[in-house]
């Protein structure tokens, strides 16, 4: 007996490894590779100030005479610039690192904002029900019927015209997070509401109610933890979409300014030089953007298949 009792409790890590999700992850090479790439990009972006050879925000390190050097594997390159330089003479590799950091940060913050607004509204709408529910869902329908990009473009365009481009570009990052965050809340609200409606009927909610817990406690501590898996699934897709939206808005000149470029504004500034043959200013940030969004989408696909076996692949 005593021998049996001494088997150590499995550590949290090995429990994750042995779980269904862990098994499906290890047996799916696409998910593993996507995860590795995503983690690599994230770590490099987070450590940008440490690993970037230049600081693209420091005007003292930028020399216009260095502009439009090609990447090192092409003739006529300057070996100190790995991926060449952009039109202002910034090292493209450093600028991409900093830009990826911005794009990721805006994407994650915007999705967090979406999630906070959407989950609260979804919980209230599903739990309270009645007139409030139909009003909130009607609002969600209307909000969804206008495309996010359209709302964001108009909002940012008006904000830019109203505040002037200098003030706007200083606070662009907050505008972007706010507009992408606010305009996509119905995605979360609808999903959460649907699960809440299903969970509400279950016995554990009844028992919590009988025990005298308040509605807030039941919603947050009891129902929410049981609605997490669909939230995870849409979160991955939402992060990918938010990054694309940010890049699109910055490309239109309604997002991050060229002095503090995200991947989108970097592509935009490179587009002016594509006809003169300087393809790398557009292409390299473009590839980084596509790879980043692609791996997030692939992870999202995998997560959806694991957490929602009833759903079709499609």
């Amino acid at each position: 007996m005593s021998i049996l009792n001494t088997i150590p409790e499995p550590s949290r890590w090995s429990r994750i490894k042995k779980s269904k999700i862990g098994y499906s992850f290890r047996s799916n090479p696409v998910a593993v590779v996507s995860m590795c790439i995503f983690v690599c990009i994230t770590i490099m972006a987070l450590l940008a100030p440490l690993i970037a050879p230049f600081d693209p925000y420091d005007p003292a390190q930028i020399d216009i005479m260095n502009s439009e050097y090609p990447p090192v594997w092409i003739d006529g390159a300057d070996p100190q610039f790995l991926f060449g330089t952009d039109d202002q003479g910034r090292d493209l590799w450093s600028t991409i690192l900093y830009g990826t950091r911005l794009s990721l940060m805006i994407g994650l913050c915007a999705v967090t904002l979406q999630a906070v607004i959407g989950i609260s509204i979804g919980l209230i709408s599903g739990y309270v029900g009645g007139r409030l529910d139909s009003l909130l869902m009607r609002l969600a329908d209307i909000q969804l019927s206008f495309s996010t990009l359209m709302v964001a473009i108009i909002f940012l365009a008006v904000a830019q015209a109203m505040f002037g481009s200098e003030l706007f570009s200083r606070y662009a990052i907050y505008f972007l997070i706010a507009v992408i965050g606010v305009s996509e809340w119905p995605q979360y609200a609808r999903t959460v509401r649907a699960t809440v409606l299903a969970e509400k009927k279950k016995e554990y909610v009844d028992s919590a109610r009988v025990l005298g817990f308040g509605p807030l406690r039941i919603m947050v501590r009891h129902i929410l933890p049981n609605s997490l898996s669909p939230i995870f699934v849409i979160s991955t897709v939402q992060v990918a979409n938010a990054i694309i939206s940010e890049a699109s808005l910055s490309f239109l000149g309604l997002g991050m300014p060229p002095s503090q470029p995200s991947l989108g504004s970097l592509i935009s500034s490179g587009f002016d030089y594509i006809f003169s043959g300087s393809w790398w200013i557009t292409a390299i940030p473009g590839v980084v953007l596509v790879v980043l969004v692609l791996v997030i989408n692939l992870l999202g696909d995998w997560l959806r298949d694991v957490l929602n076996p009833k759903l079709h692949k499609g």
Partner: protein, 326 residues
């Protein structure tokens, strides 16, 4: 059904009302109409007189009622830059945008149906796997990047297709010039249409595939097979018909969304449509034009969504109207 219709139309009017309110708020706060009219060199007295004359000192409700009344008569103000009624400026640009959307829709319909059906019939074929892989890559590439890539390959690289503008258009009537009547026009519209289609195509392929796979499991398809009907007839006549309902619904909503993506596509290809005009108006702080664009685009969104909802309610008898109309 009638009650549903009335409710839906009231909702559409409500949304248009809110849009007009936002439009008015923008017009009220953005820029100074007096400076656009008379410039800097006018004395303060004359300014005040003009303000009074133009009704700029009236209360908010009075000004808004006037704005709404004018808007209902089709008067959305005069563009500062073009010195023309803003609505006319937009309507002149509208055909270019609509043709672009039409071209993209054509590509989406012609490609997504066969690709979606094919991947559903043979889910394990290498080609199907390739299409599904390509579709997730397609979703991950922003539309402007697709457009730039196409320009780099086909215009800068091979020089096959022109990279900007509408080219040689043929006049039809009114403000409508078409790209579909001669070779040069077609050459100009190919790349923008494909770029615009690239964002929606993967979505529709996946949607048709998912719906099709579900329908192929159903009893009536099995029965049709048992009866010995030829497979292509089952796929394209029996099964496809029943997948089209959700596809049409999503499609109707996406046409509105495509208007947003025309801004990106038109910017890259310098296509002289509404979206390109809108961004120029933003850069010039041409307030009446910005507001007019907002209202016209809002109108397009509201109308397409209402019509799609109504069609959905009409075509699909299983939809509970109570849920939709509540």
């Amino acid at each position: 059904m009638l009650a549903y219709l009335v409710k839906r139309i009231f909702q559409a009017i409500g949304v248009m009302f809110v849009i007009s309110l936002i439009g008015f708020a923008i017009q009220d706060n953005l820029g100074d109409p007096l400076r656009e009219l008379v410039g800097q060199s006018v004395t303060e007295e004359v300014r005040q007189e003009l303000r009074e004359e133009l009704g700029l000192n009236d209360s908010f409700t009075k000004q808004y009622t006037r704005f709404l009344g004018n808007a209902l008569h089709g008067d959305l103000g005069t563009s500062y830059f073009f010195k023309e009624p803003a609505l006319d400026v937009i309507l002149k640009k509208l055909p270019a945008t609509l043709e672009l959307v039409f071209g993209a829709t054509l590509i989406i319909v012609c490609l997504s149906v066969p690709l979606g059906v094919m991947t559903a019939i043979r889910p394990n074929a290498i080609l199907s796997k390739f299409i599904m892989g390509a579709s997730i890559i397609g979703i991950s590439i922003p539309v402007f990047l697709t457009a730039i890539l196409m320009i780099y390959v086909f215009s800068v690289g091979y020089g096959w297709l022109p990279s900007f503008g509408r080219g040689d258009v043929v006049h039809v009537f009114g403000d409508w010039d078409t790209n579909f009547a001669n070779v040069d026009g077609l050459r100009h519209i190919i790349m923008p249409s494909f770029a615009l289609a690239s964002i929606m195509l993967p979505l529709f392929v996946r949607l048709i595939r998912a719906e099709m796979m579900e329908v192929l499991q159903s009893e009536y398809v099995k029965y049709a097979r048992a009866k010995g009907i030829r497979p292509w007839r089952i796929y394209f006549v029996h099964a496809l018909k029943n997948t089209l309902l959700p596809v049409i619904t999503v499609g109707g909503v996406q046409i509105g969304t495509m208007v947003a993506y025309t801004i990106l596509t038109e910017t890259v290809f310098q296509w002289p449509g509404m979206g390109f005009m809108f961004l120029e108006a933003v850069n010039r702080v041409d307030t009446p034009l910005i507001v007019a664009y907002l209202i016209v685009v809002g109108f397009i969104f509201v109308v397409t969504n209402t019509v799609v909802d109504l069609i959905y309610g009409l075509v699909n008898p299983t939809v509970k109207l109570a849920r939709l109309g509540a």
